[in-house]
């Protein structure tokens, strides 16, 4: 059988090599302090040694992945592509999550949780508005009650929080 480059695995291998290089050449020297006193200054004992070890290992794995991706049988080459609407739904959930996180800093816990649940229910395919409102209000309220009132946890407070102290 003729060897075929296995696209997805080759991309993964390349990514691993790049991550490894990024770590070794920039992130570790730039963002891990080097200890220069006593025995901890020795190469194997300083705080950079373990990240270097792991990063080097990732690089080697990437090279191995690139090598093996070339020799993989062609039958493993096909990868099913995700339909466009499925991609949109995944992106939708991620966008709602990020928006929710931002809204919490403005409006506190209750209102963004209500809105977040409402939008998530819609994206998951629920059509009935009355049910969506009921579930959103119910889940936001019950989580607030359990964590805020029973567990006495400090709930997130926003800069324009209508429900603070409720």
């Amino acid at each position: 059988m003729k060897p075929v480059m296995h696209g997805r695995e080759a991309r993964l291998g390349l990514f691993m090599v790049l991550i490894s290089l990024l770590l070794i050449l920039w992130l570790i020297p730039g963002y891990v302090e080097l200890y220069t006193l006593g025995m901890y200054a020795e190469p194997l004992l300083n705080p950079r040694s373990f990240p270097y070890l792991v990063s080097g290992f990732i690089g080697l794995l990437g090279i191995a992945m690139l090598f093996f991706s070339y020799w993989k049988p062609a039958s493993e080459k096909t990868v099913s592509e995700l339909p466009r609407d499925a991609k949109l739904r995944v992106l939708g959930v991620l966008a709602i999550s990020t928006l929710y996180l931002w809204l919490i800093t403005l409006f506190g816990y209750l209102l963004p949780t209500f809105l977040g649940t409402l939008l998530l229910l819609r994206i998951f395919g629920e059509q009935r508005w009355w049910l969506m409102i009921l579930i959103s209000a119910g889940s936001a309220g019950s989580l607030y009650f359990v964590f805020g009132r029973i567990f006495h946890m400090m709930m997130p407070r926003g800069s324009i929080d209508f429900f603070y102290g409720f």
Binding site: M16, L23, Y40, L45, A86, S139, A140
Partner: protein, 502 residues
């Protein structure tokens, strides 16, 4: 047999503390329902309830998670038998004989066989855990940093090579977990690493947001790929014959050898780090079939087949805790989550836990036995009703509720919105890893073990002055050779598999 006395004390303690008892009952019921719902596993339940356990006593919280682990492992068999859809990966083998029995109208018999074998396998595994673990702990007690480096190196290698279909991807997942764990303070000199000037990143990343993101948020993202509507699952009706819905004494005796063999398989596999319940049933099924007097019935509705899959699947539960309690090495994803709960409560795992937290350890053992009793009675009398109820579960409503519970769950431990962001980030990482068929379990287990591994490695180097120290200690050397053996075995296996594909 002083363990019996400790166990009796633990039972008294549990029945006198309402929160512990409620935790076990809640854990057993939630685990069973989630295990029985296709697409929702016990892992999801455990991760979602960890934030709640944070506000409970350590015994109540950890017992609740342990109960979910046990009943969730059994619960997966219900849809496997009734709907030909396994509720968990571990139950995939159960459907081979379970569903043909349902097609014959004998689902009651199949469900009773499943719960009986599960409970027996689980019980036997728990007895080994209760009476045997302390002896393992005594051996481990003599381990120094060099030996621990060897043990952890072997465990991480085993987890990487055996989980998933590709050794390279498994190793990458492990390396990623080790790397992520380096964010925060260095374990020996307390200098910040990869904090990028962000205050929250100067301490290590919290366990809960990582677990919730990798296991639950990524699962929600995988589920949203499919457009959800009212479920189309249904359960076949029973025959009118009452014999078809009960397990006779003769049938019970006939499944005992299969249960015994499968228990041994589950026990051995459960002790090994990383393998877990998904592998054990297949090996046990093959073994039982080869020993059976009626191998021709396998795959066509054999009670032995159902018993084999289920006994081994649940025998893994108790066995998983042995390496976790003695070495601090989780035997499976579920055990890794339980280990996370120990860490959250500030409890260090290892042989010392048997002397420093005796009441807690035996309390967990006792609550495991109570959980078995609860899921056995629910499963024996209500499994079919639960199966029919599951078909009506509106999953498109459950997932959004799970998602908002995740948000508050990630926020809860430190009251930090930064942790919610970390959860979303790890949800995306977990989702991408799944898309590239990279197993997520090695990453999480490596993340949990990294601190211990790095500390042991560097302490060993201080003791030995150079890297040869690892080869001078016989126990460490044995584990290094075992790791090399595991990698070689996996390479040979993969090569053979590739040749077969060609």
């Amino acid at each position: 047999m002083y363990q019996l006395g400790l166990l009796a004390d633990a039972f008294v303690a549990i029945f006198s503390q309402l929160d512990v008892l409620l935790g076990v009952v809640l854990g057993s019921v939630v685990g069973l329902l989630l295990g029985a719902t296709p697409g929702l596993t016990a892992v999801v339940g455990m991760v979602l309830l960890i934030p709640f356990s944070f506000h409970m006593s350590p015994l109540a919280g950890i017992s609740m998670l342990y109960a979910i682990h046990k009943s969730g492992n059994y619960g997966g068999s219900i849809p496997a038998i009734l709907m030909n859809t396994p509720g968990s990966p571990a139950a995939a083998c159960t459907q081979l004989d379970g569903y043909p029995l349902t097609q014959q109208g004998k689902q009651g018999k199949a469900l009773k066989t499943a719960v009986t074998a599960s409970a027996l396998g689980d019980l036997a595994s728990d007895f080994v855990l209760i009476f045997g673990t302390v002896y393992v702990a005594k051996i481990v007690y003599a381990f120094g940093p060099v030996e621990m480096s060897g043990v952890l190196f072997f465990s991480l290698t085993l987890i990487s090579t055996i989980t998933g279909n590709s050794m390279l991807k498994g190793l990458f997942s492990t390396a990623l977990g080790l790397l992520i764990a380096t964010i925060g303070l260095d374990p020996l000199q307390a200098t910040p690493r990869f904090s990028f000037g962000i205050t929250e990143m100067e301490k290590s990343l919290d366990v809960i947001p990582v677990l919730v993101g990798v296991f639950v948020v990524s699962e929600v993202l995988v589920q949203i790929e499919r457009k959800m509507s009212a479920t189309s699952m249904s359960v076949a009706p029973q025959t009118g014959n009452p014999d078809d819905s009960r397990l006779t004494v003769r049938e019970f005796k006939s499944i005992l050898p299969a249960t015994g063999i499968s228990y041994v398989v589950g026990q051995v596999i459960g002790v090994l780090p990383g393998l877990g319940g998904a592998v054990a049933p297949w090996i046990a099924y093959g073994q039982v079939k080869s020993f059976s007097k009626h191998p021709e019935k396998f795959g066509k509705g054999s009670l032995e087949g159902v018993a084999a899959a289920e006994a081994s699947n649940n025998a893994v539960c108790g066995a998983n805790l042995m390496p976790m309690l003695t070495l601090g090495v989780p035997g499976s994803t579920d055990a890794a989550i339980i280990m996370g709960a120990f860490l959250i409560h500030g409890l260090e795992l290892g042989p010392n836990i048997f002397t420093q937290q005796t009441a807690l350890v035996y309390g967990i053992f006792a609550s495991g036995l109570i959980a078995i009793a609860i899921y056995f009675f629910i499963g024996f009398f209500l499994a079919e009703k639960i199966g029919r109820m599951i078909t009506k579960f509106p999953r498109h409503i459950i997932y959004p509720i799970i998602m908002v519970t995740c948000f508050i769950g990630a926020y809860a431990p430190n009251s930090s919105l930064f942790d919610v962001g970390i959860m979303i980030f790890f949800g995306l990482i977990g989702y991408i890893m799944r898309k590239f068929s990279i197993p997520v379990a090695p990453m999480v287990i490596a993340f949990l073990l990294a601190y211990k591994f790095e500390t042991a490695l560097r302490q060993s180097l201080i003791i030995g002055d150079n890297a040869l120290v690892f080869f001078k200690h016989p126990i460490c050397l044995t584990f290094i050779l075992l790791a090399v053996g595991t990698v070689s075995f996996t390479l040979i296996r993969d090569r053979k598999r590739d040749k077969t594909v060609k």
